[in-house]
Amino acid sequence: MSLPLVVLLPFLGAIAAPLFAQGGRTAIAIASSVPALIALAALFPHWSVLSAGGTVLESYEWLPALGLSFSFRLDGLALLFALLILVIGLLVILYAHYYLEAKENVAKFYALLLCFKGSMLGIVLSGNLLLMLIFWELTSLTSFLLISFWTHKQDARRGARLALTVTGGGGLALLAGILLIGNIVGSFELEDVLAAGDQIKAHALYPVALTLVLLGAFTKSAQFPFHFWLPHAMQAPTPVSAYLHSATMVKAGIFLMARLYPALAGTEQWFYMVSFTGLVTLLFGAYVAMFKHDLKGLLAYSTVSHLGLITLLLGMGTQLATVAAVFHVINHAIFKASLFMAAGIIEHETGTRDMRRINGLWRYMPHTATLAMVAAASMGGVPLLNGFLSKEMFFAESLQLNLPGLWSWVPPIVATLAGIFAIAYSARFIHDVFFNGKPVDLPIFPPHEPPRYMKIPVEILVFACIMVGIFPTFSVGPLLYSAASATLGFDAPDYQLAVIHGLNLPLLMSFLALFGGLLMYSQRQRFFDFHARFPEIDEKAVFETVISKFVNLAHRFTKQVENGSLQRYAMLLVLSVIAVVVLPIADNGFHIGENGLSTIDWPTAIAAGVLMISALATVLWHRERFYALVLLSVVGLIVSLAFARFSAPDLAMTQLSVEVVTIVLLMLALYYMPSWTPVESSKAQRIRDALIALAAGTGMTLITLAMLTQPFSSISEFFLENSKSGGGGTNVVNVILVDFRGFDTLGEITVLAIAALGIYSMLKNTALTPPPGDGLGHAWTRDHYPLMLRQIARPMLPLALMVSAYIFLRGHNLPGGGFIAGLITSVALILQYIASGMIWTQERIPFRYHNIIGLGLLFATITGTGSLAFGYPFLTSTFGYITWPVVGKFEVASAMVFDLGVYLAVIGATLLALVSIGRLSPHSAIKSNQESV
């Protein structure tokens, strides 16, 4: 339980810390330190196991489907990193306590810092690669939030986004790499993966996996060419820089390479990719660092360089190089953290980080200066300090590389060169800041020593530099050995951690570097002049530019394709259908089915001809809208005739009734619309559209023809057999509608109801100005409600109700039913509206259409639920025959009540829809008493 606890504690702390906000900054800082202290205490007992070369494993199942588990694994390497994270974390908390100003959101800061700490611990303690990846990306996220802690600063926001983009993106590559490894090994458990090194390296996908994993590592550890985010991450508050960007997060990539060393290293690919990247980064970082005027910029590039160094060491592949790499991780963390803190103090006290303005601070803050100078010396690799030791090991290893021919000279030369640069920029850090005349134009003047306790973290770290530098074996020996062994996967070879190994080539190189560096610093102006010839690249700005270019490009592209044109969308839809439906059929060839064609009778043919002519005429004259509408109604009429012709009386009636309501609806709308459609598409477009339409039409024709001539049998036999006996009706279509498939009908009337309600609410606050006259320029007539029409409309209503009742009642046994009856009633009422106007009619209708709709739906539903009482499913119908005196025998069917619901819903919905449009007319608002008679 202790390992997950170590990881979990900071997160719990992150939740808890803000609760202490009311207790003041100190309370938060203390609260934030608790998790680390507990964690240290929790890790301590494991040391006995680790020092004996063992590994602590704790595993809990989480998502076996993914191969993801809560596995934690503690070995020397993990412990080393965990200690760095925890200890430096504690120092940073203390430091930040003085660094942050009172007005700042300290709670947020500590919470984020703790989240980061937890994530970082998660990376190093994960025993499962996927789990590690989760923490990996979490560090990117928390780092993003920490860098942009001062959200009001543009540079901070940009730097944060740049960092997130690079490291988060690298994380995605790492994810792919890990997945590949998991795929090869069959497990994501670190134990399994580390044991399967040979299997991985032999796999065909090894190069891909390696590349992806290294992409993750390189981006995180700021290796060239992904280094550029790190300097911009320095926009973060200094505690963050010290912690994340020197000691911990940037080491995550190094950690990953070390962690997977047994699984991935030892091949040529590894060697070339890792060592070459490291080499370039080492040199490049060191070179650039020298020219940075920004204190933290210098430190950042120095960090880049040192990370390159470690990478190079890991890439070399020799055992001692690996030991050196691990050692340098420790040393770099120590001196760089202290340097950042010192830089932070300087910035804090002077108000700037520009080395051109900061001069001669020795006079104002000698204590800080001393600390910084020791740390800087360590960074430069001055003997007796920790930096020197690992660098010596590095120089030694650079000489051991077995490269062909002259190539073997390259590593030692580059190493020495980098050493020269390192001395030079360290010297610059010392001389330029603390000496070099007087300060120039400092925002805060004169600078003072910082608060006493702010220096404590620095003092501790500098003390560590010296301790390790002088007593390496005593101070870090066991830990280093344990960590190096864990990295290698077996016990590390013998090596000596001594201050001086004797007079040898590496020592010579060190001295070369020392003097070369000092020389270079003394001649710095020449180098500055040389460097100034190259334009300075602000990667942030480049990044912003690139991103906004991309955004603009994406925006333009999106606007191009998503151009808000229904014409295009509809065309794409139709083309899609043609592509996936019509074309394949055309490919397969078209067949007339086995049944062949039946003979044509001429009246039908003529009717069909009229239909086709009308349809085409509708297209041809679609610009004259009313005319097109008339033609459309002819099409509708013939469609209903076709239904009658081919044995579907119910359909014929439905089509007829719906047709007239639709036409009235369209005319209601047309009143407000232009009566004429202008030509808007070019001839080419029209031809294109016509071709598309023709293709679709041809497709439908062929499909229909193939279908109609093919024999088939359907489930309908069942309906025909059971309609009378099971459904109590002889009109099978109606029995299907109210019984066999009554649920469809319930849905259908619901659709109708919703449409009407939607129409009603959509038009509620709509104002439309009707045109003053028709399209030909005639003003509308005065005569709203013609006499003859009114007179005929009167008897029509009762007659239509009668017919409705008739159609309704017989529907179960003969063509008809609730739907058609409902439409007849609706149309009769519509006639009243047409003949006598909105107000007159509305006055005579004592109910709201909403309620009719609601009642209709309710009837249908309640009838359906009736059967539940008898234990039967919803919509089970029942019927029976009752014999009454006089009346005789008649049928009572529950389906009729359902149909009544349909009837009511249809009336309510149809009229609500039409009346809602009619209400738009200004006349309906005027209380007109035209109806005097």
């Binding site: 007539t781 005065r782 005569d783 003859m788 005929i792 008897p795």
Partner: protein, 110 residues
């Protein structure tokens, strides 16, 4: 079937068909809208009426129960045709549809 019924049915059918056709011919060839209005309102209605009647006789004669629903349709058509004509005439007068030259009198302003 009763031969008398057959004769009656056939005659009514042909009569109805002929009148329907005549109405349509009128619609097609009369010179202006107002004259064309006469064809459908009368000839066609009469034609359909005759066909309906033949249907009534046909089904009555072929042994089904006497059923005169068709009459209802005819009555309905007779009731509505004048109103349709009236509405259309009013629409035509509103639009100012041209009359044939030799028309006496004038349509009203709408």
């Amino acid at each position: 079937m009763n031969p008398f019924a057959e004769y009656a049915i056939s005659a009514l059918l042909l009569f109805g068909g002929a009148f329907t056709l005549v109405g349509a011919i009128g619609l097609a060839r009369l010179p202006d809208f107002y004259t064309r209005l006469h064809g459908p309102t009368k000839a066609t209605t009469v034609g359909v009426g005759a066909i309906m009647l033949s249907s009534v006789i046909y089904f009555s004669a072929s042994g089904e129960s006497i059923d005169i629903s068709e009459i209802l349709i005819t009555v309905f058509l007779l009731m509505t045709a004048p109103v349709s004509a009236n509405m259309l005439a009013k629409a035509a007068m509103h639009i100012g549809v041209k009359t044939v030259d030799n028309t006496e009198g004038h349509p009203w302003e709408q």
